[in-house]
Assembly symmetry: D3
């Protein structure tokens, strides 16, 4: 395994021209890549965060091209500066590396899932000091990523902060580890306890009653979008984080883009009317990014083929950058 | 394997597959239909609400395919569970029947309108205990439906709660009973009094000044969207209902989907910038659904051909389900 | 008025309304379905052809929603009469049954493939006199369907007439039985001989040179679109059929919709510039339909989510009907 | 600078800017309009052809915005010069006037139809020397226009050259004078004899068998697209014209844009796969334009809301100009 | 019938039909145009406001069709009445004239810019009592328009109220007076002082840090969207206006449509997630319109080719009308 | 100028991952790029052809995003193998280098044009043995590229083979060197003689009569699409090449993608109904590629923002590859 990250990973299928990078880079000029031809290990100590593409969506219940999302986000980096005017924070002093994509198999989904788990294991083994950010793919990958983390840190108690329209607590017995099951997968495998999951963003008619009952029985915490708006999104997130932090060692943030209202996230296959606005979501992930115990993040269920005018893809990049803004501000707290 | 082709195969999913309906149905598995080949009357007493498709939009001033809406809503039922997480309410114990569509004529709009009136008369005659929900079609149908109600209940005083960007008070002398005229039609025919109409959602430059003056002279109540937001949508709706309830026997709720902002309702031919958000509309119809005097509802002016990613169609289904959530909670109040 | 709600109302048009079927049915009124609640076997002897939905596209190399195709074709039946004016042939006297869809698993593609093979086995076992027409899904299903046929008819020599822009001869060792491999799958498994495959429609830069060499070594026949046009599409098809017929017992026709030019088949994920026109394709399948040894057919790689104005879906239905026109004319030859 | 604001500014380009019309006008600068404020009759003798907008599509069986077509064609005039390079013919010496649109009623389709008939009567009365070209609207208008012609010229024998995918011979008893009925309407009203109608462009599964039988019984001539292609479109049109000309005094050309293949005419609501190419249609109407007995034309069933990139609208303008090219060349024959 | 063709026909609706203008005009019937053939100067004293189309977008950094915006806005006037229900204000008593478009050159952008400056000079010279409203075009035009104003009023101190997601302070040395530079252009040319610019609407990752530093050094005022929302959009605008009014003689309002969230302004090439809602923008420009010192306005960066369902174009018209509502109410204050 | 190609050119803004290139590369794995950080000149002798991006479209008469085309073509390379099955030709043994894009200025079009001319001069100076293929941009670039060629080869007589719907002979006095003028620019500057230009593909109403007269006076050759089809596209091209070859030293091939029919080239801003099919265009450029005197090529007027499903972009890549197929076969003739 001396050749990590390759061959477990593939380099990003395309890369940006950094030769012309100005003093003030655009995001595409700022995020770094590795030299796939180099035989040596990079100096991992110089990186603050690592991006991992996870182009798997054949495990999605409904047809989805979320597998195209990692490249779509990369292509959209050029629209963004590294400077967050709202918080007067410049991300360009962070060192962020794009590791490329986890290799996938066309017809063996179990193999895909195992590769994803191995990729997280490798990240935690080779560069445990680097914050991993995984860009899905569908939501099934979250179970694999958290299990991969647990493999390397078996004694850690892991909590989940989930921004989602759905519980993702479907029964694995029905159709295997699909994108409807990641939280249940983590609970049933003993990777995470029910009380250590907090879902924010649920609303409307998009979860069967039985899943709500399952959540209650398993002790899963949740705050509906309506409740969160009444007490303020930022406050809700902060309280959820604080409550989780009292119990767990590590908080894993998972952002299902279908938490967005269909007007704001047309490219999330299951986005709905009545969902979250983008400014609320940016605030939420910024708040999570600031919290010391949030040590990993993923962003899932964004299908660029369904998107309109790259609206959802741009929102996805903004989520990533808002999270990193909070992450950078940790030191200063 | 004696049961070939089942269970190896599933019936064409096109006709909703009730054989496979889970304990927890999707909306398409829950809403019932009648057997068109049966000669007997169904047992109407078992139904709580009846859906009536009204596929007429050739009476629309501007070109509209709102005639396609009833089927579009039906096709979108599969995206919804019956469980409303916001209110922890499961609709599956309600009995809702889809009666099908009122027969329409291609070139005789007066005949279409008469059929619609007759359909409401038949509903009030054959199953007066069943709440009728009409799925348009353009807004001209509201006048026919309310008149049909009045035909059967001539002594009832009927009030209208209208969620709309427009007054719909145009002069029938100009172009007959088009979608710009239903409220005026009801006033001039003596079916409803001006003071018994309350319109919520008006805004911007979408009504001629003369219509506002007509409304004032006729005593029509209205609250602009801006006013409603300042005092709260829910409070505004509740007050309007209470005020109407002091005067009338029956409140008829009519939802013109163009009350939505064009970002939320791209499929409403006349949706505009500056309109209502979907979460506000869902709250509004839920509140109306809870009121004992609200005894009928329609949903009009949704053109699936103009829609994007089924956003407006999904909003339409959500309006229906939010209303039924309130309806179901009446008993518990 | 004892027949209320009919005839005032029409049943939801969604479930094809056979009660109202005119003497001259539309295709949706003509194609029959089975009663899923019936415990008895239908009288299979009354059917001429059976339609089988195969909603699998997670085995596709690139993201595809071809799994939505069977339902999309069903929804588009309503646009077609049963009468083919070009050949003055009325299909309504054929008995065609829609068996529904093969059950699929979300995360176990091998299970999906096995179900498909079993479905063909069941069809050949329960109603060998009924011509099976499978509506994919991606092209991986063809290997399963032909193997299923072979399971029941082990001594039959099977030929393939393939209308396709691609050889579909990729190495299964790379990514399993994906949509790039069905013909190789059949060759390597000994189900079909290379010389018994004839591909018509290849062109341009869409096949690696190694696949062409593999085809040559395996003895696979092929005629490029350019060659076919020079000698006439109809003549090319007829000659290929006749040559195959001299060797094999059964010819299986497989139509990959990406054989169409991207202007005519925007909904085929891999359609390309320089491809076939729809009128050429209709002529081709009509000619195949007339041939006595063509005993099964499939239609694959049509993604309704990518389609524009249902152009490709309508072309798909027309392919099916053109094939059946030829099929019906066999008797008369 | 006494001419301020001109020439610094240009008038709103929206009203075609004839002040700036170059020596070589674009079509929008060439086609003339009347002064609506003038009380006097124009000098009709100076016009060669008159355009009449007929914005009616509420008589269409399926939802259609063909009512938007006249304005869509007008907006697209700017894309065209008056010079036809293929025939080296400049239309700018023809005098063509755009009369505007026939007034329509929103809810009284019979009134709309009568207005259309009156408009043709007025044209034949006020300026019988001017060739009328009607821009629909749906196909129901053709019956009204031809009847209007007959009203003024009761002794003329009128023939119809119809370019269409459909017979348009549906029974008026079913749904009145819809867009499926114009030819039957003319036959049953005795306006035109069956043998004096020739339909070119029929194909595929888009006409019920009974309509074909009705056509045969009524003696209607027709040539399928397939037959026409085999003998050449131009030859087919010429023969049909010559045969009609031997019998009738006047040939009325009606072009249903759904004769186009769906790849070429996505904006015709009923365009289909397997239809005509635009270059074939342009050739056809040019040939008709050259014939002395072709004295009126209409173009129907083009819905700009369904169009893509104005492809069908541009094809519609080209049809008009190709016809006028032939018309202008009559004198020279 | 001496008035043939009217009233049987309507003039082509394309040229706004003022002959038929009702007592209550639509916006297209209300806004006046000049007679391009007239040699005399109009009576400028009768106009309150003048609209100037500025169809230049080849100076845009990224590809833009904002040059199509003036005509797109004009085409969309028909969707609006002149009556603002929210403020019970009828604009029809204002006299607004559409002067047409500034002439542009295809390949000489400097010439285009000079024409624009001359156009503003001419407006200030010929009709200084008429409020100029310029409809871009890209944002580079603002520098030219303000300079044109300054040319005529050299002693006036001019302030800028800018609604924008960007500072527009890029260095002109890089790529000339593009749409990224207008404010810097005005500062460096000494036309406007830094402290006299107030930008409201900035947010997210859309401005390089250096531009923020430049703004600070130049004393440019700005309020981020987040700050503005916390204190109220209306209050923020009012305070900015009041502060500017204490210093300057004239406030020029410039509205970059990319200040809108991408969900509300998909047609603004650089609209982003996290931006302003339309109702906020309408409130903002209404408030500006009411202020006596706001003496000119422009609306830029709206690309109709990128728009969806005319949502952004309609928002643009509403911005114009909301501003005029405030303008009309000045007198009454 | 030792740093050629930089800084005159920019490296491709993104590049593909060649580390994973299979033995049989896709086009993106095959086309090479230079190392922008290298100080040394590459070994130009190893290249057969060089691609040059020319991202200029602000010189287009109508709004165009053809500036996005070079990158769009690069992104679409991945859809193509290097093997042309029609001619059994593998391009992978050709060495093709992507030089990147000519640097452009935002507001100084003359500077852009000069850079383009300098780029061609540099190509002819540094690597005259490498065939240059320029990827526009709008058609104005052709004049600059041919002039750049002429600068280095002043004594060569240059001919132009133009595939286009337009003459591109507009008067430069009107609006400078726009995309309507390149051929006239070359004639008037004495770079090319009228008789040495042959335009194939003209048709319909898309050229003013005066331009046709200008062409005739200047001796420009042209064959309309209709004429070309009657005698065969391939034959027409071959004859035009042979005739040119008798007179000139070098034939420059310019392909305006608007020669395509709007159904095949929706992404060419000026594509029209009645234009060329893609298979005809591929045949045409293949034939040109085979001719020894064709020494340079460009492809212009392809706007990816207007494209649908990448149909036109894919056609553009196919044009490039078809041309290279012919080019490779030259040796073998």
């Amino acid at each position: 395994m001396s050749q990590y990250p390759y061959p477990l990973l593939k380099p990003p299928s395309f890369c940006w021209d950094r030769s012309a990078a100005s003093v003030e880079p655009k995001v595409n000029e700022w995020i770094q890549t590795l030299d796939p031809l180099s035989a040596e290990q990079p100096d991992w100590s110089r990186y603050d965060a690592a991006l991992l593409g996870v182009p798997l969506s054949r495990s999605s219940i409904s047809a989805s091209a979320a597998s195209e999302n990692p490249d779509a986000l990369r292509r959209a980096w050029k629209y963004f500066t590294t400077y967050n005017l709202d918080y007067e924070e410049d991300l360009s002093t962070l060192n962020v590396v794009d590791l490329g994509d986890v290799r996938q198999h066309v017809t063996d989904i179990a193999k895909c899932h195992d590769n994803i788990r191995q990729a997280m294991k490798a990240m935690r083994t080779y560069h445990p000091g680097v914050l991993p950010i995984s860009l899905g793919g569908d939501h099934s990958i979250t179970a694999m990523l958290v299990k991969g983390w647990k493999d390397v840190h078996p004694t850690e108690r892991i909590g989940i902060l989930q921004l989602d329209t759905h519980f993702d607590l479907r029964d694995l017995a029905d159709n295997g580890p699909s994108n409807g099951t990641p939280i249940r997968n983590l609970l049933e495998s003993g990777t995470v306890r029910g009380e250590d999951v907090h879902n924010i963003g649920l609303h409307g008619f998009f979860n069967a009653r039985s899943l709500k009952l399952y959540a209650d029985q398993a002790g899963v915490r949740y705050t509906t979008l309506r409740q969160a708006r009444r007490q303020g999104i930022e406050v809700t997130i902060q309280q959820a984080l604080d409550e989780l932090a009292r119990k767990v060692d590590t908080i894993y943030l998972t952002v299902d883009m279908d938490v967005l209202d269909i007007a704001y996230g047309p490219g999330a296959p299951a986005s709905t009317p009545g969902g979250m606005r983008t400014d609320e979501l940016f605030e939420a992930v910024y708040t999570a990014g600031r919290h010391d115990k949030v040590k990993a993040m993923d962003l899932v269920c964004l299908d660029p083929f369904k998107d309109r005018g790259e609206a959802t893809v741009k929102a996805g990049v903004h989520v990533l950058l808002s999270f990193l803004t909070g992450f950078k501000q940790r030191e200063r707290k």
